[in-house]
């Protein structure tokens, strides 16, 4: 379980990274290494060049200007979990962050790495889609913004070109609607068996964004009457599901229900033990 030979380079600017990726199309960016290093150790990934982006200080920021939350690609999951302003304005991100892996993984894993890796059971890709974020991508021509809804193509695939990297994500403030989160995993910190962000627009309608149940996150409009089973089933029909067994469908529905219930909680209850299973 040792990686194949690779060349290691440490970048200090995004321009370096883009140039090096252009020079070596089988090169790979390493951020937290929490997904890439295992793949390399299993020799499932064999980049010729490993470009370490951790020295690019410009990618390590959190800024909120009152309408948009600007997150640098190198922000660690735990930093999002701990950020007081995020907790106030985007509490669903706080709750979601605490479900990612364990403390040690959250201390190293990055937002950019999670989005680029595009594991369909991951929290961040779904969060970005659910919150209608934009992802900032930089390639040779410069930075362009891709709506999260267009960024993810399927299992572990995104629109990123080999010589492009993620520099950050921009999350708009959520307005009047309420967003809840729920997830079930076999153990604390595992990838989700099923998870959901549910937005309640408080007018009998809303949106659901599942993760762990299909090939990629999609934000789907749903009617939210008191009996909602049909709404959820119809929404699930719009997805390319991993597994159509009835118990899996029932689980996805249950999780959506729980996320909706979570959206109604306020204050400490919203961050309570019931909402946050990641106690470690």
């Amino acid at each position: 379980m040792k990686p194949a030979t690779f060349e290691y380079r440490k970048a200090t600017t995004v321009a370096d990274v883009v140039q090096w990726l252009k020079d070596a199309p089988d090169g790979k960016v390493i951020a937290g290494g929490q997904s890439l290093v295992p793949l390399m150790n299993f020799r499932l990934a064999r980049p010729s060049v490993l470009i370490d982006i951790n020295g690019i200080r410009a990618l390590h920021h959190v800024e909120y200007d009152g309408s948009t939350l600007d997150l640098g690609a190198l922000i660690h999951h735990q930093e999002i979990a701990d950020h007081p302003e995020i907790q106030k304005k985007f509490p669903v991100l706080t709750v979601a962050a605490r479900h990612i892996g364990h403390w040690a993984i959250r201390n190293r894993g990055t937002l950019g790495g999670s989005l680029a890796h595009a594991d369909p059971a991951s929290e961040w890709p779904a969060a970005m889609v659910a919150l209608q974020a934009e992802i900032d991508v930089q390639g040779s021509p410069g930075v362009h913004r891709v709506p999260a809804s267009e960024f993810f193509l399927g299992y572990y695939t995104t629109v990123l070109e080999p010589d492009e990297m993620i520099v950050g994500a921009r999350v708009p403030a959520t307005g009047a609607s309420r967003i809840g989160f729920a997830e079930v995993a076999r153990r604390t910190g595992d990838f989700a068996l099923a998870g959901a962000f549910v937005e309640d627009c408080l007018d009998g309608t809303g949106f659901v964004t599942w993760f762990g149940v299909s090939d990629k996150p999609q934000r789907i409009a749903v009617a939210l009457p008191p009996a909602r089973e049909t709404s959820w089933r119809e929404a699930l029909e719009q997805l390319t599901l991993n597994d159509v067994a009835e118990d899996k469908i029932a689980l996805a529905i249950e999780i959506a229900e729980r996320a909706l219930k979570h959206s109604a909680l306020v204050g400490a209850a919203y961050f309570g033990a019931h909402a946050i299973r990641g106690r470690d």
């Binding site: 299993f42 020799r43 076999r186 604390t188 106690r279």
Partner: protein, 771 residues
């Protein structure tokens, strides 16, 4: 024994483990920390097929790769791990003509370092002609689709046992039920993986082998025999071992190849398993089926059990014993557990397959048999409509029945079976539980309670540590009065350096800090069986008591002579010897030791010079039974299938305790592993014979957050052996899975669920609810 030795100061005390500071600060030295200049490392090319003929091996490119020192195939190292008196086949240390499981070592690459070795391993081309794999136990028994070994039947162990009178009693009972219980392949997953390092000593010509093993002398003997070397040319040193759990009780192919390579290359050579290799090639365990029929009466009295036991032993018998035989044969003998079930009939089939060999994993037969036995009792309770605790009471062996011969002929020494259950039920609040349960169900909360009363055979004359029924201690009081004692045990984290020191300190009359325990070096330790089968406490501890006592007698004799008192009047303690009632007529043990070694003219006639001796202890009984009760309270989320363990109680009786802190540590760890067995761990083969769980992403272990706080209580029914000690290394894992899955069955009683498999997953539960 003088009166004072019977009032021990350290035995039974919560002495903190002397091992912990080095472990907690990262100072412990494990196998992979052993590094000497010029050390080479090994990577193995392993079989990607469950069954295939080897048509050719091309190693040219690998041999030519820079940094590679040797490429080894079976022809180079033609050693077969074969226990000829027990099995018809053995395992070649590198595949010979045919591969029989995924992960079987085929070629070894020795190179400058592991990276280079793994690169070169990719350059080896093995031409395979795949064969249809044997994957199913039932089909294997029928030699279907074929034999795993051309010249040996797939059924490599068969046994049938019937209690006299079974044939009449079974049909005569009022009721009968049937169930098939299935356990799934698991493995120990030690924190520290397996590994071996060997270094020839050019000066002496001897070979030093560092091994992460439970049985230092056994592996030395195995290597000597397999390689044809004199035993005294091999020194085995076992460094700190990060867990064994039975899995490190075997001698593995890699051990032999590493030692052979070091000898051949005259260089230090090391191999350390990575996690994928561990999951593929550490012995597996628990691949068993029990087809059970039970005969019982209206009141829940169980009259007879009929059990067809099957275990999939994998491709070869692990060396030198197959876990399949251990799991089934002992299960068949202890199946009635703590219950006075008068009749039993068992039939055992152990079969070969194209899977990893089966070996020992903590509890071996026990977690399986307890799961079956407690599953039977709960089914009977449900069938007759009585409370599961009540049905247990009716069937429980009573204190006046000891020594009790069970239906399979095993004799139990006294234990606290019923008492342990009553205590445990009291601690968890069983009286009020049923009311709480009913109320909660109205709110849609499915809470259940599971009871598991277990027996644990310990201190056995033969176990996975071999058939060495005794242990030895070499003890020396140093000239300064400090004590050094060496053991043939092979601790893998149990804390023997603490417990053995406690026992010796009491006997010799010194403080526990003044005793150093050595183990794991065959040059200094006396011959011993090693650690396994919960024998180190009762047998190793027994040897410590005997050695300590003999040393005490020497010191008393010497002190009596020097203090001019009768031996009966000498007392020892706190590093002193004194005349009873005259505390100022005293000498320190240091003074005594100094005289024993240097002023030898002052030694009484007939007493040997120095203070050194070897003592051995073999218990008179061939087995001593610990016992206890586990009770688990769980919530089952019927919508997600997730199980949460809310409360957990263990009442444990392992005779006299050496150190309650360590006993409790053993219990916590065993319950954690029980949670793994009950809900998470499973090695899964697909229909092509590929193991699909080759990383810890797929093979799920319990994590800290899955393990509840537990309440423990000790009962003490001493054994007849030295110190009244019984073993207790396995009982917690024997008892736990049954308690946990019975709790799930109880919670899901409204849905008619009775768990019959380990592990039970969230998916299983969701599907049962939907069905």
């Amino acid at each position: 024994m003088t009166e004072q030795a019977m009032r021990p100061q350290f035995m039974g005390a919560r002495v903190k483990r002397v091992e912990d500071p080095r472990l907690l600060t990262g100072q412990a030295r494990f196998l992979d920390d052993i590094d000497v200049p010029g050390m080479l490392e090994v990577a193995f090319v392993r079989s990607p097929y469950p069954a295939a003929r080897i048509m050719g091996i091309d190693t040219k490119a690998a041999k030519a790769a820079p940094g590679v020192r040797a490429v080894i195939a079976f022809e180079d190292c033609p050693v077969v791990l074969w226990q000829k008196d027990a099995y018809e086949v053995g395992q070649p240390v590198l595949a010979h003509g045919e591969v029989r499981y995924v992960g079987e070592p085929v070629v070894a690459i020795v190179a400058e370092n592991r990276y280079v070795a793994e690169d070169a391993a990719e350059l080896v081309t093995v031409h395979y002609e795949p064969l249809e794999p044997v994957l199913d136990m039932y089909r294997s028994i029928a030699e279907n689709p074929r034999r795993v070994h051309e010249n040996a039947s797939n059924v490599f162990f068969y046994k049938k046992y019937t209690t006299k009178g079974f044939d009449e009693a079974f049909p005569a009972a009022a009721h009968h039920l049937q169930e098939t219980f299935r356990t799934t392949r698991q493995t120990a997953v030690t924190l520290e993986p397996r590994g071996t390092a060997a270094m020839p000593d050019p000066a002496s010509g001897r070979m030093t082998v560092y091994a992460s093993t439970q049985s230092p002398h056994r592996i030395r003997g195995d290597l000597a025999e397999l390689l044809g070397w004199p035993e005294n040319q091999i020194r085995v040193i076992v460094p700190e071992v990060g867990g064994g759990f039975g899995m490190k009780a075997n001698t593995y192919p890699e051990d032999v190849v590493v030692v052979w390579a070091a000898h051949q290359l005259r260089k230090p050579v090391k191999w350390v398993s990575d996690r994928t290799e561990s999951l593929l090639t550490d012995v597996h365990a628990r691949d068993d089926i029990h087809e059970v029929e039970v005969a019982f009466e209206d009141d829940g009295r169980i009259i007879a059990i009929k059990d067809h036991l099957m275990a999939d032993g994998g491709a070869y018998p692990a060396y030198p014993f197959s876990g399949a035989v251990g799991e089934t044969s002992l299960a068949s003998r202890v199946l009635p557990g703590p219950y006075q079930i008068p009749y039993i009939e068992t039939e055992i089939h152990c079969t070969y397959s194209n899977k990893t060999p089966l070996g020992a994993y903590r509890g071996v037969w026990g977690p399986i048999a307890s799961f079956v036995q407690e599953g039977i009792v709960d089914r009977v309770a449900r069938a007759v409509g009585r409370d599961p605790a009540e049905v247990r009471r009716i069937n429980m062996i009573r204190p006046d029945q000891f020594p009790f011969r069970n239906a399979a002929g095993m004799v139990y020494d006294p234990g606290s079976y019923g008492e342990s259950m009553e205590e445990a039920l009291g601690l968890i609040g069983y009286d009020t539980f049923r009311t709480r349960q009913t109320e909660l169900r109205k709110e849609g909360i499915y809470r259940g309670i599971g009871i598991s009363v277990f027996v644990e055979p310990t201190a056995m004359a033969s176990s996975e540590a071999g058939s060495v029924g005794y242990e030895s201690v070499f003890i020396r009081v140093e000239p300064t009065g400090k004590v050094t004692a060496a053991f043939g045990l092979g601790p893998t984290g149990q804390g023997h350096e603490t417990t053995m020191a406690q026992l010796i300190a009491d006997q010799v009359g010194v403080n526990v800090e003044d005793v150093v325990i050595l183990h794991g070096d065959t040059d200094s330790a006396p011959f011993g069986g090693g650690t396994g089968g919960s024998r180190s406490g009762p047998i190793g501890g027994g040897a410590a008591l005997v050695a300590g006592r003999e040393m005490r007698q020497r010191l008393v004799k010497l002190a009596a002579h020097l203090l001019e008192a009768a031996e009966e009047d000498i007392e020892l303690g706190n590093g002193q010897a004194w005349v009873a009632g005259v505390p100022d007529r005293a000498m320190t043990i240091q003074q005594l030791a100094e005289i024993a070694y240097t002023h030898v003219k002052r030694i009484p006639a007939g007493m040997p010079i120095g203070l050194e001796l070897v003592a051995r202890y073999q218990p008179e009984r061939s087995v001593s039974f610990s016992n206890g009760t586990h009770v688990a309270e769980v919530d089952v989320d019927i919508r997600t299938g997730m199980v949460q363990v809310l409360n957990y109680v263990v009442v444990n009786d392992c005779g006299r305790l050496i150190n309650p802190l360590i006993v409790e540590g053993q219990i916590y760890g065993g319950v954690a592993q029980g949670i793994g067995s009950a809900f998470l761990e499973s090695l899964r083969y697909d229909e092509d014979g590929q193991l699909t769980t080759t990383s810890l992403m797929d093979y799920l272990l319990p994590e800290a957050t899955d393990v509840p706080r537990m309440m423990t209580k000790h009962l003490v029914t001493p054994s007849a052996g030295e110190g009244g000690i019984k073993g207790m290394g396995e009982g917690s894992l024997i008892g736990a899975p049954a308690a946990l899955v019975n709790a799930v069955s109880d919670a899901l009683e409204p849905f008619g669920v009775m768990v019959n498999r380990l592990p039970v997953t969230a998916e299983d539960i969701r599907q049962w609810i939907l069905a």
